[in-house]
């Protein structure tokens, strides 16, 4: 390992560690009005929660053996190698894995973000197009690891299962940023590590202050964290160990998906006037 590479790893680790300390919880923005009840957003949240309860609680308690339980659930997770080799559910597993979550905190943070950004986006797109955009983002966010496997670039041979709605939700967040770039979001910071009696403990501690924050800060926070985290994951794989199982590149894929796929679902007026107003000035 060269000195430069070591320095970059330290730098990436520092950025990743610092950004992981604080979770930015969006609480309120200035877009208070909704045309109608956000049926699709709430529907997706309910579906995710129901699946979590059925799979992670009911099924787990019934089987009572983590290994057997994992074998039962595994076909519904996204395993890039299996998808490319034509095993299992294939493309369908991209959708099924987007509705599965590893644990309660994974589900809660994803659903909080979906509830906040999803209903605002559904307000603009309508429920059907919002649902299609959500699925498209879920698909595109998973493409990174599948393409990596197709090109035989994956260090882990694409055997690490992926799950969670994070990629799709990052797409929704990116689409929100694209539509409302000047929006200020009142944010509650949540500390992830609390030092009690000199011992750092992974307890979420909400700080009861509302910080008005531009929407782009959310994306910047996520993008920086995911780039640093993803790069560290790749480096760790090169040296034969696993840094973490978070799908950082799936998050980045979701952001790209949100920004690109949104174009196909936006109402004509929004596209037209953005263009027209820009021309006039």
């Amino acid at each position: 390992m060269s000195e430069f590479e070591a320095l970059m790893i330290y730098l990436a680790w520092g950025v990743d560690f610092l950004l992981s300390l604080v979770f930015l919880l969006p609480v309120k923005d200035d877009r208070g009005r909704h045309r109608s009840f956000p049926y699709m957003t709430v529907g997706i949240i309910v579906l995710n929660t129901l699946i979590f309860v059925l799979v992670n609680i009911v099924l787990f308690l019934q089987i009572d053996d983590p290994e057997v339980w994992l074998e039962q659930v595994k076909p519904f997770l996204l395993v890039p190698a299996d998808v490319v080799e034509g095993k299992g559910l294939g493309a369908l597993s991209v959708i099924t894995s987007a509705f599965l979550h590893a644990d309660l905190s994974h589900l809660v943070y994803n659903m909080l973000f979906l509830f906040f950004f999803g209903r605002k986006l559904e307000d603009v797109l309508g429920p059907t197009k919002f649902g299609l955009l959500y699925l498209a983002c879920a698909f595109v966010s998973s493409l990174g690891s599948i393409v990596q496997e197709m090109l035989k670039l994956s260090v882990t041979q694409g055997t690490v299962p992926e799950l969670g709605a994070s990629g799709a939700i990052m797409g929704i967040v990116a689409a929100y940023l694209f539509l409302f770039p000047g929006q200020r979001i009142r944010t509650m910071p949540v500390l992830f590590w609390v030092v009690l009696l000199g011992i750092p403990l992974p307890i979420p501690l909400p700080i009861p202050v509302m910080i008005p924050m531009p929407a782009w800060v959310f994306i910047l926070h996520s993008v920086l964290k995911d780039i640093a985290h993803g790069w560290l994951q790749t480096k760790a794989q090169e040296y034969g160990f696993v840094y973490s199982l978070t799908g950082s590149f799936a998050h980045l894929g979701g952001i790209i998906a949100g920004l690109t796929c949104l174009y196909f679902f936006l109402p004509a007026e929004i596209l037209h006037y953005r263009h027209r107003v820009g021309e006039e000035t």
Partner: protein
């Protein structure tokens, strides 16, 4: 007519309870008996033995004597009461509630400090003493006299609410006399004058306030508002400018001064003030609306639209600002041309959006780059998905595209049944095709 048997029963129960020492129970029975038969001598006599106060006991015994003047027990009891009754409480000397000097019982003003001792209740108009926190006639709250100027201010506001203008005026004057240097009182008194329509008096009060507190921005702003209403723009502008100079965070003054600038055509000045106003108070919908108007007049339509949208988001649906924003945005954004909204470009965009999932799914299932190994079934399903996406897009987004107009006439898919005829098979086929693509058998 009373029921004799019932009264007798109550009396017997009452006497038995009194003899047993259960005074409260006895009192209840005997009171019921006297309620039913108020000329029952025995009931009153026994009741006199179980009531608590000297006064109640005396009343009971007097009632016995009223029924039977020769009753020896009642006479004896009254004599005993006269001998043992406590001395009457000394009559409290009336004093001024502020300076505590003695005042004549009928006096309306304290001879020592000239404090008003009697006021008219704002609720019922009865004259009452000022130390009463609540009107004994109607229960109207009067507040605390010891608050001085604030008491009179509260009274003035209460008078005003009940349209007792003269009394409100007098109470306001008393408040100012009580605290001529209190900026809060001066502002409140001037506001009272304004509410009563006495703008001349309000102006004088604000001017007095400015003399005493020349550093306070609020008086200048209020005077500016009065001058603005009186169509004296130069005076108003001078006042607002002074208010803004003294307090650059007063969004109301910034907005009002910007209004004057905009009316006078000083657009850059208005723009600067409004930008500051919305920075200080980002939820000031009217400031956003005026700022967008100013931007439009300056030719900055992009910023104008942003501000209109902001004003629209901040205003309540159906409010005056909301309606105004909608009207101006509609004017600024005439409908998109039919060619643009229903043309092939828009149709292609819509169909592409719907084709994203089927195409990506087919590629992922092919498992290679480039995706040459798509199964024939999936290829067929992709073709079906394309047709289905077109039908779906026609039913929802481009109902008047060329093909639909050719089939259904000039209006395209206008009626619900027409949209259903095209859209339902479209959605169903799309779902089926996606299912075939996803399913690898």
């Amino acid at each position: 007519m009373h029921d004799t048997a019932q009264v007798t029963g109550l009396l017997q129960h009452g006497i038995a309870a009194a003899r047993a020492g259960r005074k409260e129970e006895a009192r209840q029975y005997l009171l019921q008996a006297t309620d039913l038969d108020e000329r029952n001598e025995q009931a009153w006599l026994w009741l006199s033995g179980v009531v608590e106060s000297f006064e109640d006991r005396r009343v009971c015994l007097e009632n016995v004597l009223a029924i039977n003047p020769a009753n020896p027990h009642a006479r004896q009891g009254l004599r005993w009461l006269e001998e043992h009754a406590p001395p009457p409480a000394p009559v409290a000397e009336e004093r001024c509630p502020r300076c505590q000097s003695p005042v004549p019982s009928s006096g309306a003003v304290c001879p020592q400090c000239d404090q008003l001792l009697i006021v008219a209740c704002p609720g019922c108009g009865e004259y009452i003493e000022v130390e009463h926190p609540v009107c004994p006639e109607c229960g109207c709250l009067l507040g605390d006299f010891r608050d001085g100027a604030h008491y009179h201010l509260g009274l003035a506001r209460a008078y005003l609410e009940r349209e007792r203008f003269t009394l409100a005026q007098e109470a306001g004057d008393r408040a100012e006399a009580e605290a001529p240097d209190d900026p809060e009182v001066l502002e409140a008194v001037a506001a009272l004058h304004e509410r009563m329509g006495h703008t001349d008096l309000a102006v004088l009060t604000y001017q007095r306030a400015i003399e005493r507190h020349p550093e306070s921005a609020i008086y200048y702003a209020r005077l500016g508002a009065i001058y603005h209403r009186r169509a004296m723009p130069d005076d108003a502008r001078a006042m607002y400018e002074q208010a803004v100079r003294l307090d650059s965070n007063d969004s109301a003054a910034l907005f009002a001064l910007a209004q004057l600038y905009a009316e006078a055509g000083v657009l850059s000045g208005a723009c600067r003030l409004l930008e500051r106003a919305v920075e200080v108070d980002p939820e000031h919908a009217e400031a956003h609306l005026l700022l967008s108007d100013v931007y439009m007049r300056l030719g900055k339509s992009k910023q104008a639209v942003q501000q209109y949208e902001r004003a629209g988001a901040l205003s309540k649906p159906g409010s005056a600002v909301g309606r105004e924003v909608q009207r101006r945005l509609t004017k600024l954004r005439p409908g998109i041309s039919e060619q643009h909204a229903q043309g092939w470009g828009e149709t292609f965009r819509r169909v592409t959006g719907l084709m994203l999932l089927p195409v990506l799914a087919a590629w992922v299932n092919a498992g290679v780059i480039p995706p040459w190994e798509i199964r024939p079934a999936a290829l067929g399903a992709l073709a079906v998905a394309f047709l289905a996406s077109y039908l779906w897009a026609c039913a929802t987004d481009v109902p008047r595209n060329d093909i639909m107009r050719a089939i259904f006439g000039k209006a395209g898919l206008e009626r619900l049944w027409q949209k259903a005829l095209v859209g339902v098979p479209g959605v169903a086929l799309w779902g089926a095709a996606l299912g075939v693509i996803m399913w690898r058998g």
